[in-house]
């Protein structure tokens, strides 16, 4: 088992090397002057752009530049993001917790809803609950998140004034950035609760309801479909018939026998789900003006803020690869057959 995990871990730097290489090749198509903006932290430096190009070797051969760039990244110098108005490393520290908070808030309801209704849909095949579940799945699959997000905003913000976009109201903003507020984790709901600021915690949570619901509706479709079809397959197998023939109650057959086997594809899928969420937050955060990695990445891309684009993308790729790795390890943990093969 340990060998398997180590083998998969060794794969991580290889892929990350490829990721930086790909991004770098893309960037080579920009002119040296545009790439020089990577290093300009002060508008006054713009006058000496040629000097900047010279200093950082932006006219040098590609492999030399790549070496220079890689060394800087290794030293944690990711440049200055114009859109975030702060260094990239600092921007990541400030935006990542928000994205994590939103993703986690959406992830567990997705797992719960997806598995529960996927199973119910298979058990009560062709009954009302099955039809409803399949309808939700196929529409969730087909509805772009920005359309759903805008419609939700129109109803719950424009009409009802219940759930505003953004991260928090002005009052909470002042409180959170006040002197007496201690930042424990960066996850604002948790921090507000730990500071015993219950109304602020509620306010922050309220701002996450709509984006989390959007992510839920869009992302749950895949899980519903896979759970349903895997469950249908298991329910048709011989061991299930045997269990029923033994006179076991149906609930035991479903939960203890069939569901246990269905959990294997679900565990692998959970990484795909996380991946889907990472892609999903890009749009969702933008629509709801939620200050996370996704919105920052999009703004950086729109304004061609190269360091911002690089920082957010490499982070996304890193999390993505990590999620896949985690899923493989989990897969090996739940299914002993994989380990033997490795």
């Amino acid at each position: 088992m340990l060998r398997y995990i180590l083998k998969r871990l060794a794969f991580l730097p290889v892929v990350m090397f490829g990721v930086t290489l790909l991004l770098f090749i893309c960037l080579q198509t920009l002119s040296p002057a545009m790439r020089a903006s990577l290093y300009v932290k002060d508008p006054r430096q713009l006058a000496q752009l040629d000097a900047v190009i010279e200093k950082y070797g932006l006219n040098k051969p590609v492999y030399v530049q790549y070496g220079i760039w890689l060394r800087q990244v290794a030293h944690g110098d990711l440049g200055y993001s114009e859109t975030a108005k702060m260094p990239v490393a600092e921007a990541i520290r400030s935006f990542l917790p928000a994205t994590i908070e939103l993703t986690v808030l959406a992830f567990f309801p997705i797992l719960f809803v997806g598995v529960t209704f996927g199973v119910l849909s298979a058990v009560y095949r062709d009954r009302l609950i099955d039809h409803v579940t399949r309808f939700v799945a196929i529409t969730g699959y087909s509805l772009p998140s920005f359309v759903l997000g805008l419609i939700l905003l129109m109803i719950f913000y424009g009409r009802l004034h219940w759930l505003p976009p953004g991260r928090y109201t002005l009052d909470s903003d002042m409180l959170i950035h006040g002197d007496r507020f201690r930042h424990w984790s960066g996850l604002l709901t948790l921090d507000c609760a730990l500071n015993r600021q219950w109304s602020a915690a509620l306010d922050v949570a309220k701002h996450m309801v709509l984006p989390a619901c959007t992510l839920l509706y869009i992302s749950v479709a895949l899980l519903l479909r896979i759970t349903r079809s895997a469950m249908l397959e298991e329910l048709g197998r011989d061991y299930v018939r045997t269990a029923r023939a033994k006179g076991l109650p149906e609930s035991v057959v479903v939960r203890k026998h069939a569901l246990a086997n269905v959990l294997i594809p679900i565990v692998t899928l959970s990484s795909l789900l996380f991946v889907g969420l990472l892609g999903g937050v890009v749009i969702t955060e933008t629509v709801f003006d939620f200050p996370g990695i996704g919105r920052w990445g999009v703004q950086a891309a729109q304004q061609l803020d190269v360091p911002g684009v690089l920082g957010s993308t490499m982070l996304a790729a890193f999390l993505f690869v990590l999620a896949n790795l985690l899923s493989d390890v989990l897969y090996a943990l739940v299914d002993p057959r994989i380990r033997v093969g490795a």
Partner: protein, 293 residues
Amino acid sequence: MDRLRRIFKLLRQRPMSMLGTAIIATFVAIAALAPVLAPPEAGTRDNYQIPQSGYSSDPVRPSREHWFGTTEQQYDLYYGMVWGARTAFKVALRVVGVSVFVGVLLGGIAGFYGGWVDEILMRMTDVVLAFPDLVLAVVIVAIYGPSLEHVMWAVMFVSWPSYARLMRGDVLSIKEREFVVAARALGASDARILFRHIIPNALYPVLIVASLSTGSVVITAAALSFLGLGAPVGYADWGQLISLSRNWIMGSSGNPFEYWHTVFIPGATIFLFVLGWNLLGDAVRDILDPLQD
């Protein structure tokens, strides 16, 4: 002929597949009849450029003159929806077509030759697949500049690796089969074996996945347009038209749903188009996947 009849029979037995086929057929008709349904003004140079009636910033609600109303800057939504159907088909078919072609070719070569060719090609797919689709596509379009053309290239670039992976796996198993050995014994060249014997036999799973993923390709492309990285303002593209609605979700005081049409009409259109492809994809899978029978 027999196969075709079987396909139609299967389609008839599945009402949802019929619905998907009907939706896509309707969009095909709309796209084909665009010049009739929404005739461009005389002397227009680019038919995809939506006519503007005035330059007022506030959208106008649907009326007799503008069936679907107008967006900000008075772009006619009806015209945009009709000609946007052509844009949508162009994007969907070109992106899926090219990425399947590239994926089949590179995946086929990787699986057939193995060794270092395989190693290099598969590590390339690893790298591209290390990004969430949309994230890498956003970066590519941002670097090369916003345009519909670049959106298509970006989505192709993030799509081909999954087809290549799938193709490679199929080729690996098929190249060991007897008919391939027989062809080789008869002195067939590598190219002939690969293109005449292996690829045609390995194609079905790729086609199934392609038909299932057409809908998500449309969504990714529309998302890039929505982010302002696609077609320029005023071009008949659904995603772009929705991005024009973002400032109007609040409505006006006293009437929060005043500008509902700016979100709802292009939103419902994209939804139906994608839904059609997804239902059709399910049908194609049911028909082509022999395990289902």
